[in-house]
């Protein structure tokens, strides 16, 4: 009897959650969006997801096998990385894109740093940034229009009646960026007093396109727009996010500050008629912001642990996202903003360390 007694430090009971449960909880939360991706973009989206998961899991197992370390694929984190990577590539990429992306995410972004819990940056986003830098043509061209919708999210009827078909073969933010550029050019021309009928025609079209984009909220919300495999349907992503919040796997500090910052800044600066003329709702609904804010910026390993640090993290992500969207080299900035903020996490943790209880009065 006595030798069976276990002696260990207190506490002697534990919460029922485990790393594995959390990871598979995240997997479950991503399922609606995954199903949505397959529904909207067809079987090739399913292929991308499956290949990305397989590649992530096999890469991790292979490296651990070769380096004679315990195999950790059962914790589910590689699966999460695989799904998130798949969610961040266009549906029509060649088969080797998700495979190489996942492999890079695991083999360079995660394992060298000590595996789960030690990677300083989000592996899936690193994989995506790697793909984007290496094969930009595959990663920036979207050809597949969603079921019952258009790539730009503009209603098919509006496209016809405004004659927009020439400029709407791109994702919403892409259309926004190029057309906004044209409008600015046109504003300059107007100011200089010169006449340029060709540009005026283009500017009129751009005005139409931007106003139609703003009217495409419903399409953006349900996911009837072009984009990466898992980023388009705000509705399905929110279902997953609610599940995570309900399960307390993620907090609200990062997503809310992130989305809030993007909304405020785009309202301020993203317009074509000066300050406060932007369309925050359009910017919140498009460009994978919801996916980023709820599923990737909240990645536990690569976000701050302190409550204040999380708020700054969210704000920082928002600021960088808007900077990239408005003046950067890419139409959207969610991935890079999160990666960049990942780098600041040790600093945020260090400088937002909460005051120890009772140290409040001491100065």
């Amino acid at each position: 009897m006595e030798n069976r007694l276990v002696v260990s430090a207190s506490p002697h009971i534990a919460h029922k959650d485990s790393v594995k449960k959390i990871m598979f909880g995240v997997v479950i939360s991503l399922l609606p969006a995954a199903v949505g991706g397959v529904y909207f973009f067809g079987a090739k989206a399913a292929w991308v997801i499956v290949l990305a998961i397989l590649s992530a899991v096999i890469t991790e197992a292979l490296i651990e096998k070769l380096t004679k370390k315990p195999i950790t694929i059962a914790d589910g984190s590689a699966i999460v990385t695989g799904i998130l990577l798949a969610f961040n590539v266009p549906p029509e990429v060649p088969w080797w894109i998700p495979v190489i992306g996942s492999a890079f995410a695991i083999a360079i972004g995660k394992v060298p740093f000590g595996g789960l819990g030690y990677n300083p940056m989000n592996p899936a986003l690193l994989g995506r940034a790697f793909l984007l830098a290496s094969w930009p043509s595959h990663m920036t061209i979207f050809k597949t229009a969603p079921k019952d919708g258009s790539l730009s999210g503009i209603n098919l009827a509006a496209i016809k009646s405004y004659g927009l078909d020439a400029i709407t073969s791109a994702t919403p933010l892409n259309v926004f960026k190029t057309q906004r550029g044209i409008l600015f050019e046109w504003h300059d021309v107007l100011k200089s007093g010169m006449e340029n009928p060709a540009l005026q025609a283009k500017a009129d079209l751009a005005n139409n396109a931007i106003s139609q984009l703003s009217d495409s909220y419903a399409n953006l919300f349900w996911g009837r727009v072009g984009g990466c495999v898992g980023e388009t349907s705000v509705f399905l992503l929110l279902i997953g996010a609610l599940y995570l919040i309900y399960k307390r796997y993620i907090g609200l500090r990062i997503p809310l500050t992130y989305i809030g910052t993007v909304a405020v800044l785009t309202w301020l600066f993203a317009g074509t008629e000066g300050l406060f003329s932007g369309d925050p709702l359009f910017h919140v609904l498009s460009g994978g912001l919801i996916l980023g804010a709820f599923f990737m910026a909240t990645d536990m390993v690569t976000s701050p642990v302190t409550p204040k640090g999380r708020i700054w993290f969210g704000v920082g992500c928002g600021v960088i996202t808007v900077i990239i969207r408005l003046v950067g080299g890419y139409p959207e900035g969610v991935s890079y903003s999160i990666l960049l903020m990942n780098l600041t996490v040790p600093l945020l943790d260090r400088y937002t360390k909460p005051k120890t209880f009772g140290k409040v009065e001491q100065k």
Binding site: P112, F113, G115, P120, A129, I324, G328, L340, T344, L347
Partner: protein, 209 residues
């Protein structure tokens, strides 16, 4: 002076063409001094200070001593027939100027503020061989910057260096407490991390200001 233009130079030097992550300048101190946050901050401040000064001084040297213009000092002193083109001496002139500048700064700081010397002093000698300092002098030439632009560029480049260094130091302090595979420990993982940082900084490329 166009403030907007100076802003563009600043942002470019800090984020878009970050000295360390994009231009590969100052790699040795970046890897060497990023193990600990306090020394990273100290080194960063020293670099900002010296870079700004070096940009200023090398610009003056180049424009008034080496460049074949009518304001060339030698042209004026020796009243030569034609302004001498001494630009081929720029490498030798710059490195000597920077080396003595660092010595001079070290002496001044030691006299003026012993506390500052304590936090900055040990990094100053290391700076002479920091190619970022000489690099910024050459880049100022390459870009045809005027005096103010050179100073701004020097300062911003230093800030960019410090940013990369401090971020790296924060992460490396954390990597010290991670089960990193043995062959990768130390410098190799620092380079992998630098690579990942550079990937993140690609997000700034193409920024149109």
């Amino acid at each position: 002076m166009d403030l907007n233009h100076l802003f563009v130079i600043t942002i470019s030097a800090i984020f878009i063409n970050n000295f360390v992550l994009n231009r590969f300048l100052g790699i040795c101190p970046y890897i060497g001094v990023s193990k600990n946050m306090d020394s990273a901050v100290g080194m960063g401040m020293a670099v900002v200070f010296v870079m700004t000064l070096a940009s200023m001084v090398t610009w003056l040297i180049y424009d008034f001593m080496l460049k074949p213009t009518t304001s060339n000092i030698f042209y004026i002193i020796f009243s030569a027939k034609e302004p001498p083109d001494l630009t081929y001496l720029k490498t030798i002139a710059f490195i000597l100027v920077i080396a003595s500048l660092v010595q001079f700064v070290e002496m001044v700081v030691q006299k003026v503020s012993p506390t500052l010397y304590k936090s900055l002093g040990i990094y100053l000698p290391l700076i002479t061989t920091n190619c970022a300092i000489l690099g910024v002098a050459f880049l100022n030439l390459d870009e045809n910057f005027n005096f103010i632009e050179s100073i701004v560029n020097g300062f911003a480049a230093g800030v960019g260096f410090t940013l990369a260094l401090v971020l790296m130091a924060g992460i490396r302090e954390r990597l010290e407490l991670a089960p990193i595979p043995k062959p990768l420990r130390g410098v190799p993982i620092a380079f992998l991390m630098a690579g990942l940082m550079a990937i993140a900084f690609l997000g700034f490329s193409g920024l149109k200001l």
